[in-house]
C-alpha cells in the first residue's frame, strides 16, 4: 500500500511538474529571444545613424566594432550590393531587395532571426537602388550558460518539489500502513501464542475505527469462548455426576452377574458421554483461529510414537514430503488425537514385527496423512467408521473421531489396503 501510494504521488507530481516546467522553460527561451531582438533594434538605430553619414570607412570601423562578441551580427548592404560585415546568405537577396523599397522586416531564419531595415540617406523618397540596408542577424538562444543555468534552477526546483512530495507521501503511507500492519500482526498472533495486548488505536480515523472494531470482535469472541468453556464444564459435570452415582449404585449390587451386566451397559453409556463431551469441546480445543500448521503437528505427533516402534523392533518409517507449513482447519489437539487413533490401531491390531509407515504430504487444498501397516488389514464387512462397531471389539469411536476431524476440516477419510506393506491403509485428507 505504501509503495502504491508513493508511486501514485510520484506519477501525479511528475505530470504536474512536466506540465508546469516545460512551458516555463520554453517561455524563458522566448524571453531571451525577445530581449536579444530588443537589443538588436537599438543597435539597428545606432547603425542607421552611422550609415546615413555615407562614410564607408566609418561604417567599416563601426561594423567591425559592433560585431566583436554579442548575440547578433550586423551587416550593412550598400546600394551596389557590397556587404560591410558578414555576407548575408544568397537566399536573402530577395528579402534585402524588398527591404530597399522602404519596408523594414523581421524574418525567422535557421538559427535565429534577421532584421532588415532600409536606411534613408537624406532624400525624401529614396530610390531602391540608392538605399542601403542594415541587416542584423540575431542568434536564437541555444545552450548558453545563463539560459541553461535558469533551466537547471527550474529543474532543481522541480526535483525538490518531487522529493518533498515523495517524503510527504511516505509519511502519509506510514501513518496508514504502520497501524494496519500492527493490527494485522495482532490479528495473526491471536490464538497462536495466547492473548496479546492490542496495539493502541493509531493512524487515520478509518484505521482507528477498524482497530476498535477488531478489539471489540476479539473481546466478544473470547467472551463467547469463555462462556462456552463454562457451559462445557457444566455439561461435563451434569453428565458425569449422575454416571458416578450409577457407578456407585452398581458397585453396591450384591449379585456379581448383575453387577457385571449393568457395569457393561454403563461402560457404553460412559463412552458415549465422553464422546459427547469431547465433541462439545471442539471449539474450545480449536481456539480462536481454528487453524494450525498441520505438517508440524502431524509429524511431531507421529515422531512421538517412534520410541514404541523401536522398543518393539518394529520397522518404522516416517515420511514428510510437504514442501512447507500447511495450515489446516483443525485444532492442534484434534490432530494429535487423529495421529494417536490411527497409530494406536496400527500398533494394536498388527504383530510387533509388522511394518508401520506414516506419510505426510501436500494434497490439493490441504494436507494428506497416510498410515499404512503390514498387518492383516481392515476387517471386511464391518462399518469400522460407525459408532459402536469395529473389528477389534472396541467401541469403534476412534476412526469415527478421525472421520469427524477430517470432515470438520473440509477433507475426507479413505480406507484401503497398502499396496506394498499389504496391511491396512488409512488416508486422511485435511482441508486448509
Amino acid at each position: 500500500m505504501r509503495r502504491s501510494l508513493i508511486l501514485t504521488v510520484a506519477a501525479a507530481v511528475s505530470m504536474v511538474l512536466l506540465a508546469m516546467l516545460v512551458p516555463m522553460a520554453v517561455l524563458l527561451r522566448s524571453y531571451v529571444l525577445e530581449d536579444r531582438l530588443a537589443r538588436a533594434a537599438v543597435e539597428v538605430q545606432t547603425t542607421e545613424s552611422v550609415v546615413s553619414t555615407g562614410d564607408v570607412g566609418r561604417i567599416n570601423l563601426y561594423v567591425e566594432g559592433v560585431n566583436e562578441g554579442g548575440d547578433s551580427t550586423t551587416t550593412v548592404v550598400l546600394p551596389d550590393g557590397t556587404a560591410i560585415g558578414p555576407a548575408p546568405d544568397p537566399d536573402e537577396s530577395v528579402r534585402i531587395a524588398e527591404a530597399r523599397t522602404g519596408v523594414a522586416r523581421v524574418d525567422d531564419v535557421d538559427g535565429g532571426s534577421v532584421i532588415l531595415v532600409p536606411v534613408s540617406l537624406g532624400q525624401s523618397t529614396a530610390a531602391a537602388s540608392e538605399t542601403p540596408v542594415v541587416r542584423v542577424f540575431v542568434r536564437a538562444p541555444g545552450w548558453e550558460a545563463p539560459l541553461v543555468r535558469s533551466w537547471l534552477i527550474l529543474l532543481a526546483l522541480g526535483l525538490a518539489l518531487l522529493v518533498g512530495a515523495l517524503v510527504l507521501a511516505d509519511r502519509l503511507g506510514r501513518s496508514f500502513v504502520t497501524p494496519i500492519r500492527e493490527l494485522a500482526g495482532y490479528a495473526g498472533r491471536l490464538g497462536v501464542d495466547g492473548r496479546r495486548e492490542p496495539p493502541p488505536p493509531d493512524g487515520p480515523a478509518e484505521v482507528r475505527e477498524l482497530g476498535v472494531t477488531l478489539h471489540r470482535l476479539v473481546d466478544r469472541v473470547e467472551v463467547l469462548l469463555e462462556r462456552e468453556r463454562a457451559g462445557m464444564a457444566d455439561l461435563s459435570h451434569r453428565l458425569r455426576t449422575p454416571v458416578t452415582a450409577l457407578r456407585l449404585r452398581v458397585d453396591a449390587l450384591a449379585d456379581p452377574e448383575e453387577r457385571t451386566r449393568v457395569g457393561e451397559e454403563l461402560d457404553r453409556l460412559q463412552a458415549t458421554v465422553d464422546a459427547v463431551v469431547r465433541e462439545a469441546r471442539r471449539s474450545e480445543r480449536e481456539g480462536l483461529t481454528g487453524v494450525v500448521d498441520g505438517v508440524e503437528a502431524l509429524v511431531a505427533r507421529a515422531r512421538w510414537w517412534e520410541p514404541l516402534a523401536e522398543d518393539q523392533g518394529r520397522p518404522w518409517e516416517l515420511r514428510s514430503t510437504a514442501t512447507g507449513p500447511v495450515v489446516v482447519r483443525a485444532g492442534a489437539d484434534d490432530l494429535v488425537a487423529l495421529v494417536d487413533v490411527l497409530l494406536d490401531n496400527a500398533f494394536s491390531h498388527t504383530p510387533d514385527d509388522a511394518a508401520v509407515r506414516v506419510t505426510v504430504a501436500d494434497a490439493p487444498g490441504g494436507l494428506s496423512l497416510v498410515v499404512e501397516d503390514g498387518g492383516p488389514g481392515l476387517p471386511e464387512g464391518v462399518d469400522v467408521l460407525g459408532r459402536g462397531t469395529s473389528g477389534g471389539g472396541s467401541t469403534g469411536l476412534g476412526l469415527s473421531i478421525a472421520d469427524r476431524t477430517a470432515a470438520g476440516s473440509g477433507g475426507r477419510l479413505e480406507l484401503g489396503r497398502s499396496p506394498d506393506l499389504g496391511g491396512a491403509r488409512v488416508e486422511v485428507v485435511l482441508g486448509g
Binding site: 455426576t241 458416578t244 458397585d251 465422553d274 520410541p307 522398543d311 523392533g313
Partner: protein, 230 residues
C-alpha cells in the same frame, strides 16, 4: 479406623459414597457445602478429605487453598473436571491426588490407601521422597533425579513413574495404569501406556531390550525394579 470427610454437594452421590466407604470400614462424615466441609475439617480433624470442586457456595479449589492454610490433612479431589489446568491447578494447590468422575468405589478406595500409605510413611504426604537406587522421585516437588541429573519428564510421565515407584517389585497391569495414571477406568488404550513407557525408558537411559528399572512382564504389565550395584 480411618476417618474420611466427604465434601460433595450432589445428593445422589454423597449418601452412596458414605455407605460404600462405611461398608469398607471407614468412619465417614460428609458435608454438602464448601464452608460446612471446611468447618468440619477443622473441628473433627479427619485423616483424609475427599473434595468435589463444583460446590454450591465456594469453589472446591478455594476450599482446598483455605484448608491448606490450616491443615496438612491429605486431600483427594474428586471432580468431573478432566482438563489439565484443573488437574494441575489442584495438585499445585496442595491436593494429594485427583480422581475424575465417574469413578468406582474400588478405584476411590485404592487412591485412599495410596494416599494414606504416603501420609504414614513418616515425612508426610507432600514431602514424600522415594529412593530407588540412583533414582530419586520427589513426589511433592514432582521431580525425578537419576544419578544426580534432573529428568525432563512430562506431567504424565512423572505420574507414571511415581505410580510404579510407589510399588517397586510389583507387577502393575496396564489397566491399573490406565485407571490410576490416566484416570480412565473404562476405555483407554494399552498402546498409550506403551508409548509413555517407551519414552520413560529413554529418559531413564534404558531400552526394552536392555532394561534397568522398567521390566515388561509380557501379557501382564510392567514392573519397576531397583537395579543392583554395577
Amino acid at each position: 479406623m480411618t476417618q474420611v470427610l466427604i465434601i460433595e454437594d450432589d445428593a445422589r452421590i454423597r449418601p452412596l459414597l458414605v455407605r460404600s466407604l462405611d461398608e469398607r470400614g471407614y468412619a465417614v462424615a460428609s458435608a454438602s457445602t464448601g464452608m460446612q466441609g471446611l468447618q468440619m475439617a477443622v473441628d473433627t480433624k479427619p485423616d483424609l478429605v475427599i473434595l468435589d470442586l463444583g460446590l454450591p457456595d465456594v469453589d472446591g479449589t478455594q476450599v482446598l487453598s483455605m484448608l491448606r492454610a490450616v491443615s496438612d490433612v491429605p486431600v483427594i479431589v474428586a471432580s468431573a473436571r478432566d482438563d489439565d489446568p484443573s488437574l494441575v491447578g489442584c495438585l499445585d494447590a496442595g491436593a494429594d491426588d485427583y480422581v475424575v468422575k465417574p469413578y468406582t468405589t474400588a478405584q476411590l478406595e485404592a487412591r485412599i490407601r495410596a494416599v494414606m500409605r504416603r501420609a504414614s510413611s513418616g515425612s508426610g504426604p507432600r514431602r514424600a521422597v522415594i529412593e530407588l537406587g540412583d533414582l530419586v522421585v520427589d513426589v511433592a516437588a514432582r521431580q525425578a533425579v537419576l544419578a544426580g541429573e534432573v529428568l525432563d519428564l512430562s506431567p504424565r510421565e512423572f505420574d507414571l513413574l511415581r505410580h510404579l515407584a510407589e510399588r517397586p517389585g510389583e507387577v502393575v497391569t496396564k489397566r491399573d495404569l490406565l485407571v490410576h495414571v490416566w484416570q480412565q477406568p473404562w476405555g483407554g488404550s494399552d498402546k498409550t501406556v506403551d508409548v509413555h513407557l517407551s519414552w520413560l525408558r529413554r529418559k531413564l537411559g534404558e531400552s526394552a531390550s536392555a532394561p534397568r528399572f522398567l521390566h515388561t512382564v509380557r501379557g501382564v504389565g510392567v514392573r519397576l525394579d531397583v537395579p543392583g550395584p554395577g
